[in-house]
Structure formats: structure tokens, C-alpha cells
Symmetry: C2
Amino acid sequence: MVARYAVVELAFEGPSSPPVPADQVPLDVVFRHESGRVVRVPGFWDGDARYLVRFNPGLEGRWTWTSEHAAPGVRGGAGELVVGPPEPGEHGPVRVAGTFHFAHDDGTPFRPVGTTVYNWLHQPDDRRAETVEAIADAGFDKLRFMVFPQAGGYVEHVPELLPFERDADGRWDVSRPVIPFFRRLDEAVELLNARGIQADVLIYNAYDNGRFALDALTEEEDAAYLRYLVARLSAHPNVWWSLCNEFDILDRPDERWTRAGERLAAVDPHDHLRSIHNWVRFYDHNRSWVTHASIQLGQATEDFGRASLFRDAYRKPIVLDEIKYEGDVPERWGRLEPQQLVHQFWISTVSGCYASHGESFTRDDGSLHIVAGGPLRGASPARLGFLRRLLEEIDGVGLDPIDNWWDEAFVAGIPGRLYVQYLGRSAPPTWTFRLPRASGSSAPRVGDRFEVDVIDTWRMTVSTVERRFVVDEVERNEAFAADAAPIELPQGEALALRIRIVD
Amino acid sequence: MVARYAVVELAFEGPSSPPVPADQVPLDVVFRHESGRVVRVPGFWDGDARYLVRFNPGLEGRWTWTSEHAAPGVRGGAGELVVGPPEPGEHGPVRVAGTFHFAHDDGTPFRPVGTTVYNWLHQPDDRRAETVEAIADAGFDKLRFMVFPQAGGYVEHVPELLPFERDADGRWDVSRPVIPFFRRLDEAVELLNARGIQADVLIYNAYDNGRFALDALTEEEDAAYLRYLVARLSAHPNVWWSLCNEFDILDRPDERWTRAGERLAAVDPHDHLRSIHNWVRFYDHNRSWVTHASIQLGQATEDFGRASLFRDAYRKPIVLDEIKYEGDVPERWGRLEPQQLVHQFWISTVSGCYASHGESFTRDDGSLHIVAGGPLRGASPARLGFLRRLLEEIDGVGLDPIDNWWDEAFVAGIPGRLYVQYLGRSAPPTWTFRLPRASGSSAPRVGDRFEVDVIDTWRMTVSTVERRFVVDEVERNEAFAADAAPIELPQGEALALRIRIVD
């Protein structure tokens, strides 16, 4: 019996010299569930005479399968599989949930607190493993990394493997993938999944800088590579797709990206999350192929009232996948103090958005963690792991700003049940109970009783105030516990308040 | 000879009892310019046996015209017209310019500083004229108003005219428009144009509240009304179209609005500006029929760094067409202090965006200026007129944020030539010369010489500092005049700085 969300791999034999070119699909397998659900999964060449189809069965029960459209010489087949419960801790691919948030396929909420190691795949095996240990231990649950190697500033190594063979003229031949390259990619994604980390796979590369010319493939070659990559990786439950980091560095019309995104949506049998990440010019995240807006704009998280505007504009989850980095390089994108980066994560949180971390301390070899990985040196990761644990405690799909019109404070939560108010890097001496109330909302009501946790976002402590607050006055946009004395706070600290309804 | 941008009206005879129903186009006229440009203009019924075609010739020179598709009984024709220079001061319809700004058809920049009188059309003639005098004298150059009458809070009058006849069952018959209603609309738009004010026409109505049932037309009836309205008004050079104010109050799927917007784009021969305005949920302003994002979200203008994010999201002009109102009503949308409203306009300005004014002091009759018009009582209009005059002085298409990544201050301008920095409602005692510099920009350069104007946004004064500032140090993201002593400022006032290059 196969576990729900496991990678089912079917192997087929076919021609080996030459093999079916990888820009053609060697065969499809159609999987049919007893409920009537049908999934068509493309196969791919895996070296020699070996052709694979990988499938992630999201449904328990009995599936039958049949191969179709086998290329000449590829021997197809048919069979069945019985799917049982998932392995413990495996919840399936992450999807959009509640418009602005994420949940695994089985409904378990997922709260992205991600980090970034662009050239992680191209490091030696031990460095790659060490990096995963470090980010998992810190509590990160998503990693952005590139398939193609990065070149340019702070890149101090030469990749061992490249993705394709070259033709007689020295041009990349996308019909001949380098199998060890892609097997390493498989293993890398599995390594992340074993530690509960989502693989946010950056498909194309804006940092080639003429070094490998992998940014000079034609659109047709890009499409062939995309189909191969997706056929190969899509069955892994922890895959997210990002077309490119800083796509607008490349001189390509947006229409080419749109076609690539729509192609991705069309060819992925498991319908993983899809995004595209900007440098200075935004892609139109309202496009239907985009599942969530992956945005670079650190400024949007540097003060209240900004990032939430992207929710208004896109009505999709907002992931601020680059808000500058904790580190010590001279460039202004890489010299944040850890307190500031943690501050920006908390602002993102009460804006109903998500953010990603990166570390840019100069390594001994001249590289940076965001390029090459290794141990983390910064002070922010522990605090972000703490934030993630608090996010995991939310009994609901996620935090939404309660009243987008409210100017004086920004509070996110679940109306009537949970409110998180971030007081910034320097809290006032006291806080008086007051909850925002969206126009038209019925919550909270008079008589509702709340407990308040004082969260020190830097010291990573949660202290519950030993009193209950009973709502006794409800106005159109605010609710009060008029009789309650103010709460005394450790003034000047970076605090948040968690205000929970109690029975 | 006809003036460029004048309304050319061709009259045709046709059946009068019954006339050609107004949900059918009685005839088209095709205008052909000697350059090869062709414009097809739909006609409309104007009462009795009278059928009109209105055309605004944007090109000087010789045009010929021929009627086509005349309905039975409508006598078409053919002819020619010679178009000469425009009337003095007439610059033609406003279009998008420079991605984020506006210019008239002849290239003259247009800087919207608008106001709002929703039910203006339904007031007595003298009130309507008085309102236009008041807003023109204050310096407003755009007026948002509704075609259909408003009902509900603060509406203290009954409209004299309604747009359609009723059928035997009492339902609106959109095939029988009330001609005096629409002639009044013509005159209203002309009255605005005579004072240089753009007519931002709100086509559908979310404030009917069941009173007139004009929000209960079918989609087909809405479409017939739209075609009639556009055929009738489109030749006026000062028309802007807005599908609806607070569209999301109405319980309609977004797709219906999209179809209406696309229909509007298809039927308007003069291709006027098109938008749709939200209550709490945004429309997708990335849609191609939308020419500029008309947004309600006061919060976005209450602090720096917010409104400019909409530029990133939409890459179109951003007009914050409701940022709460100056007034004294208890509701939080209508009790801004004038200083605060002026502040929000200045924040909009340095965010590279535009905003609209409205006044909500309670009138003697219980209504508000934003509903019924009349004289303006507030203190903000004079300051907004002052702002508009400053905007008119910009030698360029408009102000763009110089460095969207810069956290500490928000400065908009034209790189190397003009910088406007708003110092907020309470200026510091001094300002030291420093200009932001976008990554990759060459401006400003060492040796560039600047003058600085200190603008008191409330007292409406401009004082030029009697010194020149010579750039002597240029870093990646900033430029300095290192030797220049700080400028002393009237501390605590609401100031802006205008930093101009000089020869």
C-alpha cells in the first residue's frame, strides 16, 4: 500500500541510444481514482533506457493507471495502486487557503517563514546538508533556491554539474538533460521535505550574467526544460514554483513570462503554487496563473499600513520574498540589523502577509549565506523561528487585518476570537484594552471575555496578563473594556499583544 | 470651419411616433480624415423626429463623413468638415501619459485635483451653477458626479427628472430615455468644460437603496443605457467615465463589471478615460479596459510609503478618489480636519499619485456638499488650489517617486531636474541638502546646481532660499552638497521643499 502524498514512481523501458529526446514527452500515464478523479501525468527520461512517471496520490483508495501516447520504442503498461493514510507528519502539497493564506492539501494550515539560499543546489553535498540542518533548526519552513547556477557578485564557486549537454556548436541541448544534475535536484527537494521545508524552486535565472548562457535559451527551449523539470519534480509534495527571482533583470517582454506561467499551470499535474518575483518592476500578479504574489519591496514592510495594500490589489496571498537581508555587506540590500529584520516580519504578520529571510554576512570564502548556505550566524533566525511557532498556534487559516481603515494601530486576527497587535520596536509604557471592529462585523460583542499575552518578539517570551478583559462597550469601529485598568508593559521593548477570547 | 476638440453635432430626421427605440443605434456615422484615420460614431435619439451624431474631431484638416446602418425611416447622409485650430484654452480629452500621469490630447499635462458632488446633476439649475463656480474658484479641475440619483443618508431632495420612462408595469423602459433628463446632463458637462473642469461621470449607482430601482436594471438594460449615454456624451472633450462609485456595495459578480467596462471601451469612439471605484473590495485594475486605478482607501494617504505601492501593483495612474472628507459629520469618513486632508494630498503627491477632495459639513438643509453642492465652507479647498498651481508649474509629465527603496524620506520628482520633498505636518528646524538617487540613474551629477523653494503648504507661500546648492558628492543612492550649511526652516509648519536645477 502506498501512502497518501508519497511519491509513486513507475519505471518504463525504452530506447537508450539515442533515447527519446527530453523535449518530447516519452509517455503519459493516466491515473483514475475510484471516485472518478482523473490525473494525467507526463513521463520523463531518466538516463539509459529508463523512463519514469512520478505521481503523488492525494486521495486514499484505489487508483488504476494506464500509459498513453508512448513514443516509439517506449514500453508502456497498466496497473493499479492502493493508497492508504499518509506518513506521520506529511500533509501534502501546500495550496492557497482563505484567499490570503496557505494550507496543505489535507487542510493543515501552513505559515510560510522562509529563507533563501540561491545557489544551494550547486554546493557540495555536505554543505547542502549542513545548510538544511541550519535552516530547519532555526525554524524556517521554506527555502528559495535556483535550479540554474548563479554567477556574479559573491559567487565564489564553480558548479560541479550543469543541466544539459552541449551540441556540436557548444550550445545547450535541452533535449539531452544531464541526469546526475537532475537526480541531485530530486535529492535536494527530498532532503528539504524530510525536514518539513517547502522547496520554492526558482526555475529560470536572472543572475547568469553571461557566464553559463542558461538565460539565453529560446522560448521553445525554455518550454522544453520546463516540461522536463515539472515532470520530474512535481510529484514531490513540497514543491512550489517560482518562474524567476528578479525576473525583470532579464530583458524579456512580460508576455513571455505570462506564456511560461500559463504553460506551467497547464503541465503541472499536481497544481503546485506558482509565482514570479520582481526586481524593480512588478509582474501583474492578478493574472490567473499566479497563485500568490511573491514580491520584493523591503520598504513595504518597514512601516505599518503598507504591505496590506497588496492584499487589496491582488486578493491573493502576499509573500514578501525579499525584504533586504541581515548582514554586513556594504550594499543596502544586505546590511539590516537583526532587530530591524524581525521588526519587518512582525509588520508583515499584522499586515496579513508573509515574508522571507536571508542572511548576507560575508563568509570566510567571500560568499554569503544567501548564495552558498552553511551555518547561520545572524540573530534574527531564532526570533523568526519563535514567530513561526506563534503562527502555528493560530486556530484558523491565518491573520487578516481587522479594519483596513483604522489609522492608529494595525491589528490582525480572526474577528471575535483572536487579535494580534504589534506595538513596534519600542513599546509604550501601557496598553489599554481596545479592539478594532470592521464596519459591518458583529464581533466582538458585549460580554466577550479575553486574555492578553504580552509577547516579547526579541527575547522570545510570552507572558499572559493575569486578568480577564470583558468587553462592555461596543462602538461602530471599536470595542472597549471600559473598566479595565491599562496593562503595564516593559516600555521600549519590541512587543506584540495576543488577545484571545476565553470561555 | 470647426475647431479641433469642438463638439460637432450632425442632426438627422427619422420616425417620431414611435421613435427608433434607444436600445438600438439609429445610425452610425463614419468619419474619415485625410490622413487615413477613421472613426465610427454611433448616433442616438434626441426626442421627436431628431437623431444626432456627435463627434469630437481630434485632428485638424479635412474630414468626410457618411452615415451607415440607418434604421428604417432614419434619413442618413454624407458630407465633409474642415477642422481648424482649437478654441483658446481647449486642449482636448485627457489621456494617460507617462504611465502614471495624465495629459490632454494635445500633449498639455493635466494634473487632477478633483472634488466630488455625487448628486450635483439632480439639483436645481442655480444650485448646479453655484456649485461649479465654487469649485472652479477654489481651483478644482475634476468633478465626480452620478448620472442616476442618489438616495439614502444626507440626501434631502427629490430629483426633478429621472432618466427613463416607465412601462405599463411601472418598470423602467431603457428604450425610452427622458430627453430633458439627458439634455440637462449635456448642459452640465458643458458647464464644467466652460470652467476647465473634467466631468468624472459615475455611470451606475450603488446608492439607490431601493428608492428608484435604477440599480435593478438587467445587464442588457444596463448595456442599452451605456450605449445611449456614451453616444450622447462622448464628444464632450472633458468626459471621464467611472463605472460606479463604491461598486462593491452592489451584489454583482466582478465579471459583470468587467463586461460593462469592456463594452464601454468598445463603444466609446473617443476613448475617454475609464475607471471603477471601490468601497471595501478592490476591482482588478490590471484589466486592460481600466485606464487608471480609481481607489478609495484614505489610509493609503495617511502616511508615507503607502500609495506608491499601488503604482507598483497597477502600473497605471493612481487616483485616490476618496480619502475621507473635510467636514463635521459623526461618521469617520466625513470629519477630517482641513490640515489633515491637505496633508494627505501632499503625501499623495510625493507618492506620485493623485487624490480627490470632498466636503461633508452639514448644510442648513441637512445635506452635505458631497451630495448637493453649493458654496464650499472648508479650509482645505484654497490649499488644494495652491497645490494644483504648483503642480501646473511642473515642467514634465508629472512627479514620480525617485527611489522607491529609500526608507527615510519620500521624494518625488524628475531625476536631475526637479525634486519635491514633503516634510509632513510638522517640519524639523533645518534641512540639509541631500537628494535621493535611484539605482542605475545617472542623475544628479557632481556640479549640478540647484535652488530650493520652501513651500508652506498651509499658508500657501513659496520662499526661495537665497543660495545655490552645488552637488559635490554623489553616492550610489544619494547626492550631497557637502559644503552647504543646513537650511533653517519654520519648525513645526507643514512644509514641502521644491529643489530645482538651475543653469
